[in-house]
Symmetry: C2
Subunit: 475 residues, 2 copies
């Protein structure tokens, strides 16, 4: 019987597949979404805040292709490499969609022999991850990256990256946040003094990276059970990774009898102290936490690492609160460019990536909850008529307005009703209506109606452009 | 011997392939390119002109994913379908990179049951075409699309699309241009009266589409030789396709004894007349040519079609002039949305696509030839010091400036030389330097240096932000 059932199930599956072939599926690919005009208005608002911050810090902007040679991405992402989208081999080069903007940036630097640049790059990246779209986790998503490349005095660019995260998260008013900071050298030093063998540094680091999602007990089990670490070493790590604080903690660890003996850890702690001094000058240490549990997944970090996390807030207006999580991250990667340079020449880099999708989710949910009506166009005036047979006059007038730089629309009807024209303004938020009629044409005027107040004024045609400019300059 | 040679050649090829495997290739994929800061500055300038035109015409903005389900793109592009990039089947859905923005737009309308929208969309599209990068032909390139969807009175939205092309090309100052206009119904009517069998309409249309690149004789040979059209039919087509003009030509064809008997052609010519009336009201007929040789390659057009072409100019400054060609195109596609709707409900659409890469090429070449130095940052002031040990004071001051919204930079050095700091300003075009020194700190002032004039003024620290704003507001 079991065999028969299996056979029938198989037949059913085959039928299902055939049916699926003929039925037309009307959707976007898994883990992706369209941005309609409303979502775009929110997205552009967020981008504006981010770009103006990047420009405030003197960044140039670059763009790279959406795909790279497959080999360019190979060996850069550790365990996450399996999430890379490959293109089909249609003859020619083997290509993959970019997984982040950092590796293409490093490739760009090496290829153009650039040793000194401060740039931002805002673009979509691609990961075949398990999407969780309500929480802003997509397979196609934006990253907003700011990076400083070049040989400089220690921790000055690193401090600026943290200042940038602080400015952007404050500006977007996403609520309270904390920026966790650590250093790969401190982590590696810590692993060494805890008795982790060198060969296990990266994999134990991956385990530590999970601490923001799962409790220590589980992470410990993974270290000991799966990764073969001794229970004693794991317990020593366990003591360190619960530490977080500020300058005081740095001082304490600099006195730590074991850590202070480790060269890497000492270097990292010294730089961390310098970083905190600079952050004090920037006045932002209140939101910075030196956190020994912060590890970051990617392989290429070599120094300071950081991650900004939104803190849960009581919010009565939103039924299902957006789950809090990381909205920005980054760090120092001094070896990545050298991996691309034929002679291995290194270009030290530090950078930050703003995870904008999660921020969109929050802004969208907030707008949903609020009463605010968001405009999706910038139209200043609708060119309308009350009588029939005035399409030509409407077209002549709107052409004049366009040529003068006024944002104007008409309804694409020969004889639209005035009521429909006024309704269109109400719906789309157009503040003014320029009404042409037989009498107005004779008198050389246009009737200008202010939608909000229903007031109507007669304006001489030659003054219309100026009048519209004045009346919409406050909008 | 031949056999031996073949064997050796094969061995050599294998060795070559292996060598290739080990040698690291540092490049972007074929047909793609990076945009460095200078190229981005040009790109953003062009986008700004285009976006402000789209907004002037009341368009909303949308965005769609870079890839679509493969089946979404199937059967929309005729012969060009072979140029679509497919993604590798890594389990899950079969995906392709978008080939244009029109099909994703139609999919978006059908999926969201939108019957009425005016939107623009600026994004990259992908074609596995033979790249000719110096002439602006890439495998990854931007399209800037503006479309009007909805059931409206005839030719009003169509006329607006042509007005938009006219505005953008005039605004970008690309030199003289002409916008060729035709109508698929006129073409089909013409084919019918010339004796082309119905089944050959699309393929003969493809041949006509090549007339902008190859002479009539070649096109005629393709029609008769490859596509099996009778020589008489081809010759009749040959007479029509050399016609181009304005309202006069439309009137003439409306009197044409054969064409005027064809229902489709008559409809098309009637609408073409209406279009020209509207374009006359817009004052742009001087650059419009009704051209019976214009065919446009894509399958989905159903009515008006158009294409803007730059006209060759004598240009002594550029050694190798950019080859002239199409920089914008579009038309009416009333059936495309219905192909996606489960019930086949149609949404009439008309739209225009600006081919921005060719425009970039021209702008880049022009900038190259000119003396203009393009700034790639917007930094207003460099925070500098003349003496050593003032890093902390520089960091404090720049932090104040950033928080006040001033665009400011410092050199990432503990003790940079004043000369280097001034040189950095010269190189990057920063107009002001705020210099902190021991004496200034005591006096509560900052020395503000105007880079262009080398003038230096003492500004009280509390007035510095305002002073920088005033002095850079004219820049």
């Amino acid at each position: 019987i079991a065999k028969e059932v299996a056979k029938l199930l198989e037949m059913k599956a085959q039928l299902g597949a055939d049916e699926g072939k003929h039925k037309f599926v009307l959707k976007t690919p898994k883990g992706t979404r369209d941005f309609g005009p409303k979502e775009m208005a929110i997205r552009e608002r967020a981008f504006k805040a981010i770009i103006s911050c990047f420009k405030r810090h003197g960044a140039e902007v670059i763009d790279t292709p959406v795909f790279e040679l497959k080999e360019t991405l190979t060996g850069k992402y550790g365990e996450d490499s399996k999430l890379i989208y490959d293109l089909k081999d249609q003859g020619g080069e083997l290509l993959s969609l970019r997984y982040d903007l950092t590796v293409p940036f490093a490739r760009y630097l090496a290829m153009n022999k650039i040793t000194n640049i401060k740039r931002y790059h805002i673009a979509k990246v691609y990961r075949r991850d398990n999407p969780a779209m309500t929480r802003g986790r997509y397979r196609e998503f934006y990253q907003c990256d700011f990076d400083i490349a070049g040989q400089f005095d220690p921790m000055i660019p690193d401090a600026e990256c943290l200042k940038i995260v602080h400015e952007i998260l404050s500006d977007l008013q996403l609520g309270d946040f904390v920026i966790k900071v650590n250093d790969r050298r401190i982590l590696d030093g810590m692993f060494a003094v805890c008795g982790v063998p060198d060969s296990k540094f990266r994999t134990i680091c991956s385990s530590v990276d999970k601490l923001d999602k799962v409790p220590w007990e589980e992470v410990r089990n993974e270290m000991v059970g799966e990764k073969g670490l001794s229970p004693e070493a794991a317990d020593r790590i366990g003591e360190y990774v619960q530490l977080h604080g500020g300058l005081d903690l740095i001082e304490q660890l600099l006195q730590d009898p074991k850590l202070s003996q480790n060269k890497l850890a000492k270097e990292g702690l010294g730089d961390m102290k310098l970083l905190f001094e600079y952050l004090t000058l920037f006045g932002i240490t209140g939101k910075i936490s030196f956190d020994l549990s912060l590890a970051r997944g990617l392989d290429y970090y070599t120094g300071v690492i950081f991650e900004a996390v939104l803190l849960q807030q009581d919010n009565e207006h939103v039924e299902e609160p957006v789950s809090v999580g990381s909205v920005a991250g980054g760090g120092r990667y001094d070896g990545l460019v050298g991996m691309f340079d034929p002679k291995g020449r290194k270009v030290p880099c530090v950078g930050v990536s703003i995870g904008i999708e999660r921020i969109f989710s929050i802004l969208e949910q907030r707008l949903e909850a609020s009463e605010e009506k968001i405009r999706t166009t910038e139209t200043q005036v609708l060119v309308a008529s009350a009588q029939k047979k005035l399409l030509e006059e409407r077209l002549k007038l709107i052409s004049e307005l366009w040529d003068a730089g006024i944002k104007a629309e008409i309804l694409y009807k020969k004889n639209p009703k005035l009521l429909n024209q006024l309704q269109y303004c109400e719906e789309t938020g157009i503040p003014l209506v320029a009404i042409v009629g037989e009498q107005e044409l004779k008198d050389g005027v246009v009737k200008l109606r202010i939608v909000a107040t229903r007031e109507e004024v007669s304006i001489r045609r030659e003054n219309l452009v100026e009048e519209i400019r004045i009346r919409t300059s406050q909008c």
